[in-house]
Structures are given as structure tokens and as C-alpha cells.
Symmetry: C2
């Protein structure tokens, strides 16, 4: 609305000054918990600030201030759709990855229950998926099959085929695991579901054929994958996909759900008719634009950043296993996110190790942040069959845009001495 | 974490420059749709920016970056609790007013259904309440009584008493209406519910007494009221209260739900254990702190701002009714929000009037933004018994912090000429 150039100029200046200051003052902080959450990219921050100021209207208002807010949202929707290779009406903006995954699972379950009440998921999904499935099982009469995970943290697509039943309406498998970073064979699972749909078609006749055939949907939680993996929906073959801002240097409190055309969903939050009636509540255009900018940046830099991180990751894994006895890498060494290092040490307490790191200004995690308040061993490490001892001695180091080779070397040195000390 | 003084100083400067620029360049825009949404207060903006930079951690992480994010959230919770006169563990942060109202209604209904499945609400609640009730009625076997509203837009507390049944578990009545601004007798309704609980106690014996007695809860949607009315929970006597940021010069995408101690709620969004397991998903500390700052400012300036707005409101209402024939004020003239002017004109189309205003750089609304995409006459105006003609000729003018007497005079002049023109 207002071309506020001086404001923008000053903003640029601020960012430069403050980035410099942060660089000088924070050289002793090494953040290696990028899978927990990412700081906001300065370019995203600029977009958020701009729209907090300029696009504060209620996007449901018909007047100019409202229309401007609406335009920011709809432009964002087009951009997100372009990144995923889909139509913009297939994108639903939400308030988090958790909310998106809930909308996918509750939404499909409640809309398609007339065709069946069986859901397939895996043992090592994010709690946003597992608890939604559990809720449906405990309260709404659904049956949920939890697929086993192989020792290397990857789901065998054939196990999906074996779990399919005539009343299966939904399969929800994550794209990459949030703790051990293993990448799941999403396209292969899509292919199996397509075959199954075709075989269903042969068995069913009558006017309900089309709906019944369609009523086997595939959702993937791609929150952890979005930073590194291909998000093209046609290549993945999924019907629903969850993304969020918090893991891709975007604003927290943002997410989106891709929903293939013609899929009915029961709404998760009801009220106004925002987001096609699937997610009521006045939108925040600044957050939506920020999420979109973050996704755009991630998409553009993916190949280059993946190569850089993979090299750092493999160097670090190699050095850890070489210099510290009794360590083992959790999850496949190749089919894993370029930034994920998840290692267990014998005779070591991961929690203590994490806290000792923290005292030295190095942030890593054990388990995921989402379950960090629990003292139970991680359900992910249990799912890949880790012993209680190794699950206890677990640490997750996740790299990111600010990670440099010299950080890795410093952390390696620290790790060697900390493990030695803890083992005494 | 980092005391970035230069950044802050520059930020202050920015705000001053940009406020000045906006003032100079926007003098022909008169926004009078503060009930639709409010712009963000510059003081709130500063808080949001600060925490977007400094408190970007995942509040569930145990390390320093996580703990800092956690601290911002817990400090905010204490501040909000203080404004409402309650304990901080009674505050649940959410992503919008709609989400809060949904959590209250779905949460109580699903947790207390063993005690009864009857809900009382009114005919002119916000869609966030009405649609949640409708969902429960259509899908989960609940019965909902919709109370009538008097001609002046106020609910008679006695009608609540008459609607109470032994299986009533929830009453949800808004604190102030979002379209016509009428203030509801919340404390009087609380008193009636207390009496009813006491009478229930006499009828029930056995160990389930305590739960049964407690299982009649009172929720109020205070989104529209928060800017102007007393929010002291003890004086209101409610068990649950919905607030949001979007109507109090805070960030959109924020809200909170007050939940009295010992009240069980079924969660609305499931996954991690954030917000006592009632609202999963990684929190955005910056938004939570911004909402809190907005609430603090509103609370501090309430009396003074109410006096100022009431004077402007009554001046404007008086002038409209005096100078334009065939106009009538909707809703009680006294028991209404200090910023709300809702008027219907005979032989005039409210939609056309709103659009004509918009072309002159004046933003008002007809109906509420949340239902603005609908062509149905407003359910609120229907509830107070307005004829279709008057409902069609409706306009809502809502004042706010930036509204000055000279704006009102300019808008009055414009209104007179626009109504004349439209009636031709």
C-alpha cells in the first residue's frame, strides 16, 4: 500500500549490523540442533516484517485493506504450489506441521469412514501422526496398523502391501524420520497403493465405484524432509503432504497441507470459511508470506546445500566412529538426510552428554524436541530395535546453513573429551 | 541471549521514520473496521521483532536456545494470567480466537459427555462457536439449545435458566457481539449457573457428586470484548474464556484460552506435549510475547480509551440519526462496546455503501469479516429480529486507537452524500 523505502533501507542496514554483531558475539555458540528447529533466515525475516506492517488487514474483509491481505495469501499459495508442482487450490495454510498432519489424518478418517476404518502408519512416525491415529482408535472406532521398521530405519514398501485391507482408507508414512534422518521410499509406496486401487476397481461395481476406489489416500509428513528432499508431488505420488516453517528457516507457527483435488476432508478447526472451510480463523499474511519465502529459498539452494552438508556429515560420522570406541550410527548411512548424525555410544548417557555440550555452548539433542520432556527411551530408537543401553547413550547432531567445517572440528574435539569423561 | 543494542536503536529509529512516513502518506485512508481486525501496535511490533531474532529456539529443547524460548512463553503466560487475575497454569496459548473457542467447546463436550450431551448457546454467537456446536450436533450426538436474543441485542439471563437441563454440560455465551457490539450479562449468567450447580448437588448423592456438580461449565468468547471490557475472571465467574490478538492490536495467528483449574479438556490438536498436551505443535515465542504485550497495553489504557471512544461513538450515532432519515441503530445504545456503530438505513444497500466508502479510502464493513463472503443476511441481525430490508441496508463502523474527531466528521459528510446518492 505504502512504498516505505526509507524504512526498508534502514531495515537492510539493521540486518547487516546485527548479523555482524551476532557473528562477533556468538562465535562460541555452536548450534547443531537444526532438526529441532531452525533460526529464521534474514531474508524471511524481512518478508515477515514487511507484511506485518503493510498487510495487517483481515483477509476476509472486502475493502482495500482486506484485499491487500488476501492478495499476499493468494500470491503465497501460488508460489508454494509452484514449488510442489501442483495447483494453488490444493494448498491449505495452517498453523504448524502438527496441525497439518492432524488435518490430514482426522480430516481423511472422518470424511471417508463410510468406506472403511482402517489406517496404516509406521512405528516411528512423529507424535503428530501417532497421537492422531491413537485418538481415532480410542474414540472413533478406527483400527490402526503400525508397520515395523527395518534395523537401518527404513520401511519396506512390501510391508505396506501386506498390511492393506479392503477397508484401508489412509496410509501415513513420513518422508524422512525426524530423529535418525532416514529417507522413506515414498514413491515406491505410492506405486503399491496405485496397484491396490486398481485391483479394488476390479472387485467393485456400481455407482459407488469411483468414490470407493479413491478412498485409499496416502499422506506423508515431509516436515523434516522439506529442507533437503525433492518435493515434487507428481514424482512422489502422494495425495496429502505436510510441511512446516519451523524446520526450513521460516517462521514457527506456520505450515501447509497439500491436498489433492477432489479429496474431501472433514475440517479440523471450524468457524469462518477461511482455507476452503478446512481451517477457520483469521489468517496472518505475514507468517504465510514468510513460510513461502523460506520454502522458495530452500527449494532454490537445495542441491548445493545438500552437497555441502553431506560432505560435512560424512566427515563427522567417520571421525566419530574412528576416534571414539563403542559408537554406532543409527539409521542407514546413505539413505539419510544430509544434515543428520544420530549416534549411540556404549556406557554413556546421552542426556548427560547433551547437557555437558550445552555448558560448552554447543546445542545438540537426544531424542527429538517434541518428546524431550519424556524420560522414556525414544520410540524411534525402539522401532529400529536398539537395545535400551544404546538408546540411552544416544545423541542427535543436526547440521544447518550456519555450520562450518571448523565448527565440526571443534565439536569433534569436545565430543571425544566429553565421552571419555562421562565414561569414567 | 545477545544484547544487540545497535540493532535495537536502529529499530527504534526505523519505527519513528516509518510511522512518520505512514502518517504523511496515508492521511487519506480512514480505517473504521477495527472490529474486523486491528493493525499491530508499534510497541507490540517491537516485541515481536525482538523475539523473532532472539528467541527462535524450540521451547521443547532442553538446551540453552530452547530454554530461552521456553522462558519467553512462561513469562508471557504469567503476564496474561495477571491481567485476568488467575494462575498462569490456567492459560493455554493457541493459534487464534477460533481455535480457542473450538478447544473450549470440543474440549468440554468430549471430556464431559459422560455427564450429559446438552449445550446452551445463543443465536448470535461467532461462527467459531456456532459451527463447533453444529459439528457436535451433527456428528457426535449432542443437543444444542440456541437462545433467543432480545430486540436490543442482549440475552436475558433468565432464558439461560429456563434452558438448563439435568444433562447440560456447557453454556457458551459471547461477552460482546462482534457485529452490533452489545455487551452480554456474563456475571449474571454465571450466578444462575452457580445456583443450578448448587441445586444439582442436592439431587445427586454418591461419589460422582463432585464431578457431576462441576460438569456444568461456562465459556465466554471475549475476542471482541477484550479491548474494552473488564477481563477479571473472578468478577465474570466464567470457567473458560477465549481471547485473541487480532482484535487488540496484537499479532494475528495468536489467541489464548483461560481454563479454570481442574477442568478436564479433550485436546484439539494432538502430537507433542505442548500447552499441557491440549495444543500440540512447536510454539512461536515471538507471537506469544506479542499477544501478551498487546493485552498488557489494552489493559493499561482501557479506561481512558473507552471514555474517548464512547464520546466519538455517541457523537457519530447522534449525527447519523439526526442528518440521515430512515436510519436506525442496531443493538442497545448504552450496553454496547465504546467503538461500535451498527446502523441500518431504509432503501439502501449496505454492500454498495461499503464499496462506495472503500473507493473514497474509508474502510467500514457490513456484517462481520468472518462471514463477508456469504450473501445471506447476517445471522446476528436476523437474531435481533431485523427485517430483511434493514438487514440489507446495514453498515458497521468500528472506531479504534487511530480514530480522531476530524475523521468522524469527514466520514459523516461522506456518509450523508453516499446514502443520498444510493437512494436515487
Amino acid at each position: 500500500m505504502i512504498e516505505d523505502l526509507d524504512f526498508r533501507y534502514n531495515l537492510e542496514l539493521n540486518f547487516k549490523i546485527s548479523e555482524l554483531l551476532i557473528f562477533i558475539m556468538s562465535k562460541k555458540q555452536i548450534y547443531l540442533d537444526y532438526a529441532g528447529t531452525t533460526p529464521m533466515d534474514p531474508r524471511v525475516e524481512r518478508v515477515v516484517l514487511k507484511h506485518l506492517r503493510e498487510s495487517w488487514g483481515n483477509a476476509s474483509s472486502v475493502h482495500e485493506i482486506g484485499r491487500q491481505a488476501r492478495k499476499v495469501i493468494e500470491d503465497s499459495r501460488k508460489t508454494v504450489a509452484k514449488v510442489l508442482g501442483v495447483k494453488s487450490e490444493e494448498i491449505i495454510f495452517t498453523g504448524s506441521g502438527t496441525e497439518s498432519a492432524n488435518l490430514a489424518i482426522f480430516g481423511v478418517a472422518r470424511a471417508y469412514k463410510k468406506y472403511g476404518k482402517h489406517i496404516i502408519t509406521s512405528k516411528f512416525e512423529h507424535p503428530a501422526v501417532l497421537r492422531a491415529c491413537q485418538y481415532l482408535e480410542q474414540n472413533e472406532g478406527f483400527k490402526v496398523s503400525h508397520l515395523d521398521v527395518s534395523k537401518n530405519g527404513i520401511i519396506n514398501p512390501e510391508s505396506v502391501r501386506r498390511a492393506l485391507r479392503p477397508d484401508t482408507i489412509l496410509v501415513s508414512i513420513m518422508y524422512a524420520n525426524n530423529e535418525i534422518g532416514t529417507i522413506q521410499p515414498i514413491a515406491a509406496i505410492s506405486k503399491i497403493l496405485k496397484d491396490f486401487r486398481d485391483s479394488r476397481r476390479l472387485q467393485v461395481t456400481g455407482y459407488r465405484l469411483q468414490m470407493y476406489e479413491k478412498a485409499l489416500l496416502f499422506h506423508t509428513d515431509a516436515c523434516q524432509a522439506a529442507g533437503a528432499l525433492n518435493l515434487n508431488i507428481n514424482q512422489l505420488g502422494v495425495d496429502l503432504m505436510t510441511l512446516n516453517g519451523s524446520k526450513i528457516y521460516g517462521p514457527k507457527g506456520t505450515g501447509c497441507l497439500y491436498v489433492r483435488r477432489n479429496i474431501e476432508l472433514a475440517p479440523q478447526i471450524v468457524g469462518g470459511s477461511q482455507e476452503r472451510g478446512l481451517r477457520a480463523g483469521t489468517e496472518n499474511p505475514a507468517l504465510i508470506a514468510g513460510f513461502t519465502e523460506a520454502l522458495k529459498i530452500v527449494d532454490k539452494n537445495r542441491a548445493k546445500e545438500n552437497a555441502r552438508l553431506t560432505e560435512l556429515r560424512d566427515y563427522m560420522i567417520g571421525q566419530i566412529l574412528k576416534t571414539i570406541p563403542g559408537g554406532c550410527l543409527n539409521g542407514d548411512a546413505i539413505k539419510r538426510l544430509p544434515n543428520n548424525i544420530n549416534i549411540s555410544f556404549k556406557d554413556t548417557d546421552g542426556e548427560m552428554l547433551m547437557l555437558a555440550f550445552d555448558q560448552k555452548g554447543i546445542q545438540v539433542s537426544t531424542g527429538s524436541a517434541c518428546t524431550s520432556t519424556s524420560t522414556e527411551p525414544s520410540h524411534v530408537l525402539k522401532a529400529i530395535g536398539l537395545s535400551d543401553e544404546l538408546a540411552k547413550g544416544n545423541i542427535r547432531i543436526t547440521l544447518g546453513r550456519q555450520t562450518k567445517k571448523k565448527d565440526i572440528d571443534y565439536v569433534l574435539k569436545t565430543l571425544v573429551s566429553l565421552v571419555k569423561k562421562l565414561r569414567k
